[in-house]
């Protein structure tokens, strides 16, 4: 039995390492895009250390790059991160933590650590998968963000290097796996149309926030929408309650 536990744990650690390297590496793109959006190297690194959620970080600097103000950037980053609360609720009973360990666990509760942990079967492998993935990505992601920020700083005019287009590609990459579900696809198209339609009439930053209304309307009020697989992410687990799409193991 002990041997079975340790091999499951070893596997969980190995998976964690692979996901950490793959995810950490693209911190480079966040660092470069953040500096291109107008944040300093130090601001980029501090944002990444405190916020530590790829989608939220990209969203924050995306709003700044589009000319939006701080409040709109904060609100957009926070809303993109709302799903992390669900990951926390999923992980808390599996981790069984109290006090300062729980405060630490919260900071590394992201797409990948939740996906890796909930993919394990042994209770100890669940815990190790969560911590190794969460801490591994925290260290590597922030290291590569720093590297990318210095690189972005050295590049000069972001448009010459196509960094403005790289931001669009990055957001498409972040949302891609979530579009497997048809409802999510329609919400994505609807949100894009709403944001573009409001761009000429609202101050920068607000059209993106307004587009979130499409998701709330569809997610909350769509009639007869509490059927199976209705979490809008295309995610599915053996028990039907996984919150994280499988593809997200490759992206934060």
């Amino acid at each position: 039995m002990a041997a079975a536990v340790s091999s499951a744990v070893r596997l969980a650690r190995r998976e964690a390492l692979g996901v950490s390297v793959a995810t950490g590496l693209y911190g480079i793109s966040f660092g470069a895009l953040s500096v291109a959006a107008g944040l300093s190297v130090l601001q980029t690194v501090v944002l990444s250390l405190i916020m530590f959620s790829g989608g939220s970080q990209f969203a924050f600097v995306g709003v700044i790059a589009a000319g939006g103000g701080g409040p709109a950037a904060v609100a957009t980053g926070a809303l993109v991160g709302v799903r992390n609360a669900l990951y926390g609720a999923r992980m808390a009973p599996l981790l069984g933590l109290h006090g300062w360990r729980r405060l630490l666990a919260a900071q590394v509760t992201i797409d990948e650590s939740t996906a890796d942990a909930t993919a394990q079967e042994q209770p100890r492998a669940v815990r190790e998968g969560f911590w190794w993935t969460g801490v591994g990505i925290y260290v590597l992601w922030n290291s590569f963000v720093t590297l990318g920020a210095f690189a972005g700083n050295a590049l000069g005019d972001p448009r010459t290097w196509g960094l403005d287009a790289a931001a669009a590609a990055a957001f498409l990459g972040l949302v891609w796996a979530r579009l497997a579900d048809p409802v999510a696809r329609w919400v994505g198209v609807g949100a894009a149309v709403v944001a573009l339609a409001l761009t000429p009439v609202l101050p920068a930053g607000l059209p993106v926030l307004a587009a979130a209304a499409v998701a709330v309307v569809v997610g909350w009020w769509r009639p007869g929408s509490d059927g199976p697989g209705g979490d809008g992410t295309g995610g599915e687990g053996a028990d039907g309650e996984s919150l994280v799409p499988d593809d997200e193991r490759a992206g934060q």
Partner: protein
């Protein structure tokens, strides 16, 4: 306040907000957030915001809308994603296409 101070305030506020959201998940009783409608809405909010950002980053220019080198970059990024290219490859391809199109003087 200077723009730099305001940026720092936004960075700290945004960072703490995202952390607080994670912590709330750990502290609330699991069943509160286990309701399918809550999970579905939260997931769709992420999809909606990221999709809106794709659109804005591709077509917005200040308060106007424009078609420029970012569009072919996005098309190439989508093809790369459909072919299951890694995230970093997609981002670098997007940048390269836009930079190349601009260098050739095809689109502003």
């Amino acid at each position: 306040m200077s723009p730099d101070v305001l940026m720092w305030l936004a960075i700290v506020a945004g960072g703490l907000a995202v952390y607080a959201i994670k912590l709330v998940g750990h502290l609330l009783p699991e069943h509160w957030l286990a309701e399918p409608r809550v999970a579905r809405t939260a997931a769709l909010v992420t999809v909606a915001l990221l999709s809106a950002l794709v659109a804005i980053q591709t077509f917005a220019s200040g308060q106007g809308l424009t078609v420029d080198a970012r569009l072919p970059a996005l098309v190439v990024a989508a093809i790369a994603l459909a072919l299951r290219a890694p995230f970093l490859v997609v981002v670098v391809l997007g940048a390269a296409v836009a930079a190349g199109v601009r260098a050739l003087g095809w689109m502003a």
